[in-house]
């Protein structure tokens, strides 16, 4: 079943190659190139997965991820981050902010498509605030 994927990346050729690869897998792909356009695009497209580059103009990947994880209806949206090799501290920071997986540039197409597929097939992760609520409900 086709899924909707939003790509947030400001390098047009990377967008083009990702679009080609993910469309070949049967997905519907939308792309934005500016950080400020990501959240409005999510509201419009309602993606099943966000491919997020860290170095975006206006609002970077860290800020976007932080806002996503702080928004109740978006906190479980799977996010695959694109990071640059050699900046391992970026990866650690993305993990802390709740990224689901990441791919390091320059990436292998097979690896990227495999990770996208795994994230789309994986069950949505439980929302922390809902777990708290259940725990509270369970109290006598």
């Amino acid at each position: 079943m086709p899924k909707r994927i939003l790509i947030a990346e400001d390098e047009p050729y990377i967008v083009e190659s990702l679009t080609f690869l993910l469309q070949r897998e049967g997905h519907v792909v939308t792309a934005v190139s500016d950080g400020a356009a990501v959240l409005p695009a999510i509201g419009r497209v309602k993606p099943d997965l966000l491919v997020l580059d860290i170095m975006l103009p206006t609002s970077n990947g860290f800020e976007i991820l932080s806002r996503l994880r702080g928004t109740a209806e978006l906190e479980s949206l799977p996010v695959l981050a694109l990071t640059a090799k050699g900046l391992e501290s970026d990866r650690r920071r993305m993990v802390d902010l709740g990224v689901d997986d990441f791919v390091t540039k320059p990436f292998s197409n097979k690896d990227l498509v495999g990770r996208v597929t795994r994230l789309l097939d994986a069950p949505r992760r439980a929302k922390p605030h809902r777990r708290d609520g259940q725990a509270a409900d369970a109290q006598p």
């Binding site: 390098e11 640059a84 391992e88 993305m94 993990v95 097979k110």
Partner: protein, 523 residues
């Protein structure tokens, strides 16, 4: 430390005096074969016999204690401790320094070169992780490479591409390769400067290195200070009036006012001193001017060391550093100060009060108590401002003060800012297990008037923990029970404590396996 094997030094002195083994042996009342064994360090030698040999060779018995060779052995030990899997054996280090001093020196020099290179790598790594221009440029380069790789794989793995698509993707690979070339050139321009000028040592670092090379002890300056002090006073405290009077004899007037700027324009112009400064600070400034006047040639000669001082800026700074040293030696005379330090267990506040100096002056003087026949505890020294900028780095064997970037955030150097005017002590254990006693205090450099900026520094001294029973700051850490030990390091970059909550940078000297484990950690 184990005892220095004196055999080579005895042999050298005997040959220098053209004595045979038989004649020296006869002079000291032993057999020639026994002397031969002593000269090859095959027999231990007691104090009485060593004194007889020294007398026969007309040298001080202390000559055979090693001196510089012992320092060389200490350098070897420090080197060995930084290498995992190498057991640092004192006796072997002494043996190597005693028997093959040239080889030992070569090993130490090689290790210093390696260490400097590693530190440059650390600095570069820091630059790469913090320089926004470099980060953007490297990200752009990696994006170019990512696009090239992705389209190359598509071209290879998708034979069913339409002709127009194939032509477009090939064109993208070619144009991205061109842009990649431009990006690489921009990176080279950003990083590239003529060979040799990339990593010029900063003048401050050269001076620190120069002072460390001399083990922070300058006998010529100590002698000059003693002679000058003899003319000025007889007690422990040298009053500033005596210094001002001596300056007046040189025709130099001292003017104190609240807008004053320390220092005269030239040798005989009036010295203007900010009256808001503490008495200790004013006295030190006067002393520095006086020694600059009386020992200008000596200071210039010592500072002009082409092996270690390579620029005019560094030469000027080293002359100033040596003038500070000489002023410190004048105000805090070596033997009296060492005796007081030992008697008062290196209580810096007490020493400062007794000698009328500042905390920093007294702490700095402790670091210079390195006279071979009358050494104090070997202390390292480090100063930080509230922003963490480090200065006055003086290392000891094992306890190396970081040259680039910050020190370990767990050191009391930083926590001292939270407790002004109080010494904060710490027993720190390093990742390799070495222990050091560290003590720091935050000081204000100036009694500020309203609206004037107060200058704050934290001053830290440190030594091997084995000395802690002799030091007042070690009192909380001497018992076997209840001594709190802080698991610290030297700097984040060189520290392997991956779970440290205060870690500011990843460790680049960690093993590759550790790095891979960290990079591959699941989200």
């Amino acid at each position: 430390m184990a005892r220095f094997p004196p055999g080579r030094l005895i042999r050298e002195q005997r040959q220098k005096r053209r004595m045979t083994q038989a004649s020296l042996a006869a002079a000291v009342g032993i057999s020639a074969p026994y002397l031969n064994l002593i000269e090859h360090d095959k027999r231990p030698i007691g104090g009485a016999l060593l004194h007889r040999i020294a007398a026969a060779l007309a040298v001080e018995p202390g000559h055979f204690a090693g001196g510089e060779d012992v320092r060389l052995a200490q350098d070897l030990l420090e080197l060995a401790r930084t290498l995992s899997g190498v057991i640092a054996d004192e006796a072997q280090a002494l043996q190597l320094a005693a028997v093959f001093p040239d080889w030992a020196r070569a090993i130490v020099q090689l290790h210093r070169s390696y260490r400097d290179t590693a530190e440059i790598a650390l600095a570069l790594s820091d630059r790469l992780s913090q320089d926004s221009t470099l980060i953007e440029l490297s990200h752009a380069l990696l994006s170019r490479v990512a696009a090239i790789r992705s389209f190359a794989e598509i071209l290879e793995q998708h034979p069913d591409l339409e002709r127009a698509q194939r032509r477009r993707f090939s064109g993208i690979v070619a144009s991205e390769a061109d842009r990649l070339g431009g990006g690489v050139r921009a990176m080279v321009e950003l990083l590239g400067t003529p060979p040799g000028s990339n990593f010029e040592v900063a003048p401050n670092d050269e001076v620190d290195e120069y002072i460390n090379y001399h083990n922070n002890y300058f006998p010529d300056l100590e002698d000059a200070a003693e002679r000058l002090r003899h003319h000025l006073c007889s007690g422990d405290h040298l009053p500033s009036q005596a210094i001002a009077q001596r300056l007046a004899d040189h025709g130099v007037e001292v003017i104190e006012d609240y807008d004053g700027v320390a220092g005269g324009v030239n040798a005989t112009s009036p010295i203007r001193i900010d009256a808001g400064r503490s008495e200790a600070s004013r006295r030190f400034i006067l002393a520095r001017h006086l020694v600059g006047l009386e020992h200008a040639d000596l200071l210039a000669r010592l500072a002009d060391d082409p092996r270690l001082i390579t620029s005019d800026a560094a030469r000027t700074l080293s002359r100033r550093a040596l003038a500070n040293y000489l002023a410190g030696a004048l105000l805090l005379p070596y033997e009296t100060f060492l005796a007081a330090a030992e008697a008062w267990r290196y209580d810096i506040d007490r020493l400062a009060h007794h000698f009328g100096s500042s905390f920093e002056q007294a702490a700095h003087r402790l670091v210079t108590l390195r006279r071979p026949d009358a050494e104090g505890i070997p202390f390292a020294f480090l100063r930080s401002d509230p922003a963490g900028n480090l200065s006055k780095r003086f290392s000891t064997v094992g306890l190396r003060m970081p040259r680039f970037g910050g020190a370990c955030p767990l050191w009391p150097l930083y926590s001292a800012f939270r407790s002004p005017e109080r010494v904060v002590a710490q027993l720190a254990v390093m990742p390799e297990g070495e222990r050091y006693l560290l003590a720091a205090r935050c000081i204000s450099k100036r009694a500020a008037g309203f609206g004037q900026v107060e200058t704050l520094y934290s001053i830290m001294i440190g030594c091997d923990a084995s000395h802690r029973a002799r030091i007042v700051y070690g009192d909380g850490f001497t018992g076997s029970h209840g001594a709190s030990v802080t698991e610290a390091g030297f700097s984040c970059r060189s520290c392997s404590r991956s779970a440290c909550p205060q870690r500011a940078h990843p460790a680049i000297l960690a093993s590759d396996r550790q790095k891979e484990a960290s990079a591959d950690a699941p989200p």
